[in-house]
């Protein structure tokens, strides 16, 4: 049963892939949805047994890469951390599968789409059940490819396949770090198996290894390298540029991959490696700082964007930052808690946005929306639920998990923890602000779309609204339900051995005993964010434009996403292409060939007329001559030595 959780989506993907060749769309939808629902059912059972029942289990599948003492096995690991991810992945994925039936109903490659979705789910499940770093890498790259295929699903669109390639390549930069991290771990522990790493991490605390000619603390080297991988996949500052562009993919893809599951893989990895990272304080500090900076950076960009999906994408980026700085202050349970609640409300927001886009005849620009809330009331309500949960209003999911993170950051009482706390609070304000900016711009005010579009606006069919409803239930109740389990007083029993926190890292315990103002501040900031957004966009509608004019440089800086794309283009992309052309023309052709074969031939031609015949085309004559030469030589030796 455990193995079938992982492999049912794979079978679904294969069958749907075959069906797609015959355009059997309906059958493909049926097969993949059934596979996912079964997988979800088994995941719930597994969660009950493994997480609630406290019975982790490891399943051997086969030998994989074995060479000398390097061993990476196909093996599935089910512990509490995995079980939580199983629920998140199969839960959101099955809802997205169902939603896609409606959303993609006008597309003529639905079977292919469903196959990709299931393939992605399989890779994600391999990632979360991995028992060693190499298998984790398998899932890691697997979700990357699925993401590439899905972003570029509408491959005829220039912007889509450009974004797909960008996502893959930027992720590869992260994977560069990940791969080196695996090698460092292998050198330190002589194994890539999680159990071996965790058992010996304490003993390696003060060990040093040589890295790039320097002696460095071993666990820090491994920790930082692996975190670079996490930065790529989870779109953290510096390697985040692919995520907003990834919105070129169909919206269900954005909900599943670029909000709920794949982008959280980095957070999952950091939590998975907690037994090792706990002994790498510098790595943890770096994780905290990068997380905090991402949280605020993405929020500042988010409130200037006009594409409805990009606003939510930057929001995702920002929320992932929260998860990272939680992990960085050793509050892994809080990170996982926010990961779980975020999966529900962010998937809800994306699917809701998809429903809006669907209703507006594929319009994504907020400036062309407005005044539609009466026409699509279900979607409208769902977006409210998602926004309330995201902004962290009391008793919605985000309230429990985000406040827990901020409290833990405060309770860490470290410089980086304080920094994360204050940046996190500021980001919380911005989050509420851009969420209500989006709600008001999309649904309220005067309609800004054309008559034509407005006349076609319709509520989405049941196959799309039911998944929204399920996710909304999660967005409302998952925080309230999960609080005791994930971060309550008995959390140690729940997480078991899957998360390890050093006794001296006490952010988690102290988080429950922070001053009252710390508990109230995020809610207060969120409320003021909403109020200001309402004032700016519903009451004094001239204010945003006036503000943008007054603070033009800052606005431009935020609106242009801090100019990361332009910077990278100047620093890496163009020089690489130009340098490549230079090496080819000057290096290969002029220098190597010039002095090598071409130069030699020119010389030979000059020196003797005979050599000119080399170019007669009968080059093989010379090869024959060479062979004959060998035979002559052998014969000579035979006569010379053998004959005597």
């Amino acid at each position: 049963m455990y193995a079938s959780i992982v492999f049912l989506p794979l079978f679904g993907a294969i069958i749907a892939g075959i069906l797609s060749l015959g355009n059997r769309d309906r059958a493909a939808e049926l097969v993949t949805v059934t596979g996912l629902l079964l997988s979800l059912l088994f995941s719930i059972i597994a969660f009950a047994k493994v997480a609630i029942g406290g019975q982790p289990i490891i399943i051997d599948i086969a030998r994989w890469i074995v060479s000398g003492d390097f061993e990476a096995m196909w093996r599935l690991r089910f512990d509490t951390l995995t079980a939580v991810m199983l629920i998140v992945v199969t839960g959101v994925s099955s809802m997205v599968h169902i939603y896609s039936i409606g959303y993609m109903s006008h597309d003529n490659a639905r079977a292919r789409f469903m196959a990709y979705l299931s393939l992605f789910t399989f890779a994600m499940l391999m990632l979360v059940t991995a028992d060693n770093l190499v298998q984790l890498f398998f899932g890691w790259e697997g979700v990357g490819v699925a993401s590439y295929l899905l972003i570029g699903f509408w491959y005829k669109k220039e912007s889509a396949h450009t974004a797909a390639m960008k996502a893959f390549v930027v992720n590869r930069v992260g994977d560069f770090g990940f791969a080196l991290g695996i090698l460092a771990v292998y050198q330190i522990f002589g194994s890539v198996q999680f159990d071996d790493i965790f058992a010996n991490a304490a003993a390696m605390r003060y060990t040093e290894i040589g890295f790039l000619g320097q002696a460095m603390p071993a666990l820090e080297v491994a920790g930082i390298l692996l975190f670079i991988g996490a930065m790529g996949k989870s779109a953290q500052l510096g390697l985040h540029t692919w995520l907003p562009d990834a919105m070129e993919g169909p919206t269900p893809v954005s909900a599943l991959i670029h909000a709920a599951t794949m982008v959280t893989a980095g957070v999952f990895m950091v939590c998975r490696l907690s037994p090792m990272l706990e002994y790498a304080p510098l790595s943890l500090d770096i994780i905290t700082v990068v997380g905090a900076l991402t949280a605020i950076f993405a929020a500042t960009v988010g409130f200037t964007q006009f594409d409805i999906k990009r606003v939510i994408a930057y929001s995702t980026c920002s929320q992932l930052g929260y998860m990272f700085f939680a992990a960085g202050v050793s509050a892994y349970p809080a990170a996982m808690f926010h990961l779980t609640t975020h999966a529900f409300f962010k998937a809800l927001l994306f699917l809701g946005a998809g429903s809006v886009i669907h209703a507006m005849s594929d319009e994504q620009d907020l400036r062309n929306m407005g005044g539609i809330w009466r026409k699509i009331p279900v979607t409208y309500v769902m977006m409210w639920v998602g926004s309330l949960a995201l902004a962290g209003f009391p008793f919605f999911a985000g309230f429990y998990s985000k406040d827990m993170i901020l409290e833990a950051a405060f309770a860490a009482h470290t410089p980086v923890g304080n920094m994360a706390f204050w940046l996190g609070c500021l980001a919380a304000f911005l989050t509420a602000f851009y969420s209500w900016r989006l709600l008001i711009m999309a649904f309220h005010g005067k309609p800004r779309a054309s008559e034509e579009v407005m006349s076609h606006i319709h509520e989405s069919p049941l196959v799309m609204t039911v998944p929204l409803f399920v996710l909304a239930v999660g967005a409302i109740f998952s925080g309230w339900l999960g609080y005791e389990l994930f971060v309550g007083h008995d959390m140690a029993a729940f997480w078991g051995d899957s998360i390890f926190i050093l006794p001296e890292h006490h952010a988690m315990e102290h988080a429950h005993h922070v001053p009252t103002w710390v508990k109230l501040l995020p809610v207060g900031l969120a409320t003021s964010g909403v109020v200001i957004a309402v004032l700016c966009y519903a009451v004094w509608t001239g204010v945003p434009a006036a503000m943008a004019r007054t603070f033009s440089p800052i606005h431009k800086f935020f609106f242009n996403k801090w100019y990361f794309d332009e910077l990278y283009d100047i620093l890496f992309v163009r020089p690489a292409v130009r340098f490549g052309a230079f090496l080819w023309q000057r290096g290969d052709r002029d220098v190597i060939d010039g002095f090598g074969p071409d130069g030699m031939s020119a010389m030979v031609v000059r020196v003797s007329a005979f050599a000119a015949r080399l170019q007669s085309g009968f080059v093989f004559h010379y090869a024959f001559a060479m062979l004959i030469g060998v035979v002559v030589l052998v014969t000579w030796y035979y006569l010379r030595f053998g004959g005597l």
Binding site: Y155, F176, G580, W584, D593, G617
Partner: protein, 501 residues
């Protein structure tokens, strides 16, 4: 009894029987052409089936040579007809016997003139390749090693593209220099050890100073074959001018001759020199990976791009070999087999669209995915295997090479790993420009879907690339003991020379 059959001799020379048949075909042009194709396909297919006996009869617990045949040839000078395979050469023989029928199938429609002669060249080529990997006598090795070039020259020079003469000539110049030096070294080795028997030479320990010179001589020849930077410039030209099937064999098998030579000769016979020159090899290989990857980015010709990518992939191989670690050498071996399958498939991918549009210019395409969906799947899969996606064979080799490289030095691993990023960039860019986007030209829109024959070529390669990616143990286990033996030999051989000094 079947055990007593000279299996390796049969496999090696079976294609020559096909050549005899081809020479005997009589009749009008059309029937000769038709018969020549069928004879070549059947003979090479039959050779492949027989070569499977090597796999099933192979004892992977042993590190020694198996299926050995040893007959006196020139007894007076100690030269014998000695054949045998171990875990290092056996996979290459299978690679050769597999790719040969596929290459012949790939030329089914593309080659229309002098088909009989073309098929003869291919069958001779197959014999030469198998013979080279099966030889356990240095002289025989040399004969096959150089002999491979003759049919390849012909294939490029007669059935190649517009600048075929230049390409063949360039290859000839490069090879000539290397081969002469290698031959001189072989003579020196014979004079020193008194034998041309490879196992005996492996056991012989050459003096440290001698090793250096011998190593350089062999390096000159193998580096051209690999090819290593900066003696790689023949490869893009050769590939561009060669017919599709020629490129498949050239990239699939011929590029592995250098790597095989390093493992068979340089490592066990000149262990001290190997260690001494390892940093040089690392430097050249790293340059190869970064340099040729960047050059690949600048290409507008599909075949040139893949040719340059081959140089980068071979950089991984040479790094792996000279880490002198178990994982490094195993990774290099794995990478060679994997690259043999993947690059052959990629060159065939180019051939498929070339047959339809008669251009290799990337900008002439765009949007092909819409008209050739099945082809898009195969091409995508091979493209991902080429960038080393886990779950394909490409990943296993790269990963193990990186493990070995890290053991040698984290610097080496660091620069080698840049290949992961660069490789993804140029391959994805190629795929994007050819396959994605809207259809710009009417010719592209009119391209036919792939035929059953073309699927028949893709299918076995796809299955193997996937199989070796998911269950690489099936290949790693075969190689493991032989690789250990090579490394043990290198270690003890090196120690003996030092002790004797």
């Amino acid at each position: 009894m079947i055990e007593n059959w000279p299996l390796l001799t049969i496999i090696t020379f079976l294609p020559m029987i096909g050549v005899l048949f081809l020479l005997m075909i009589r009749g009008d042009e059309a029937s000769v052409t038709r018969n020549a194709r069928h004879v070549a396909l059947w003979v090479s297919g039959f050779t492949f089936i027989i070569s499977l006996a090597l796999v099933f009869g192979f004892d992977s617990t042993s590190s020694g040579y198996q299926f050995e045949e040893n007959r006196a040839w020139l007894p007076a000078v100690g030269i014998s007809y000695h054949l045998g395979v171990d875990g290092i050469s056996m996979p290459f023989i299978l690679l050769s016997t597999l790719l040969s029928p596929l290459a012949i199938l790939a030329s089914w429609k593309a080659i229309t003139h002098r088909v009989r002669e073309y098929m003869i060249a291919f069958l001779v080529l197959e014999t030469m390749m198998i013979g080279m990997f099966a030889s356990l006598d240095m002289l025989m090795f040399y004969l096959f090693f150089e002999g491979v070039l003759i049919p390849m020259f012909l294939i490029i020079g007669v059935w190649g593209g517009g600048r075929r003469v230049y390409a063949a000539f360039k290859f000839f110049l490069y090879t000539l220099l290397g081969s002469v030096l290698m031959l001189v070294c072989m003579l020196a080795m014979y004079l020193d050890a008194g034998t041309t028997d490879i196992p005996a030479l492996t056991a012989h320990s050459f003096a440290a100073g001698v090793q250096t010179w011998l190593f350089i001589g062999f390096l000159a020849s193998f580096a051209v074959k690999v090819p290593m930077w900066p003696v790689h410039t023949w490869l893009p030209d050769a590939h561009v001018e060669a017919p599709t099937a020629g490129s498949m064999i050239l990239a699939g098998v011929l590029l592995k001759m250098g790597g095989y030579g390093f493992i068979r000769f340089s490592l066990p016979m000149f262990p001290l020199a190997s260690e001494m020159f390892a940093p040089l090899i690392f430097a050249l290989s790293i340059i190869a990976i970064v340099y040729t990857s960047l050059v690949a980015l600048a290409q507008s010709d599909m075949k040139k791009l893949i040719a340059y990518s081959s140089v980068a992939h071979m950089g991984f191989v040479t790094i792996g070999i000279f880490t002198l670690t178990e994982q490094g050498v195993a990774g290099a071996m794995f990478q060679m087999i994997s690259h043999g399958l993947v690059s052959a498939a990629l060159f065939f991918c180019v051939g498929v669209v070339y047959d339809r549009l008669h251009t290799r210019d990337i900008s002439a395409y765009g949007g092909v995915a819409a008209v050739m969906p099945r082809y898009a799947v195969f091409f995508m899969f091979m493209m991902l295997a080429s960038v080393g996606l886990p779950g394909t064979s490409g990943f296993v080799g790269e990963m193990l090479v990186l493990v070995g490289a890290w053991k040698a030095s984290s610097w080496v691993a660091f620069f080698t790993a840049t290949g992961l990023v660069l490789g993804a960039t140029y391959m994805l860019w190629l795929y994007r420009r050819v396959m994605f986007g809207t259809i710009e030209s009417a010719d592209v829109g009119a391209m036919e879907r792939i035929s059953r024959r073309e699927v028949l070529i893709f299918a076995p390669l796809t299955v193997l690339v996937l199989w070796f990616g998911i269950y690489p143990a099936s290949l790693l286990d075969v190689m493991a003991n032989s690789i250990l033996a090579v490394l043990d030999n290198a270690a003890s051989g090196g120690a003996m020379v030092i002790a004797g000094r």
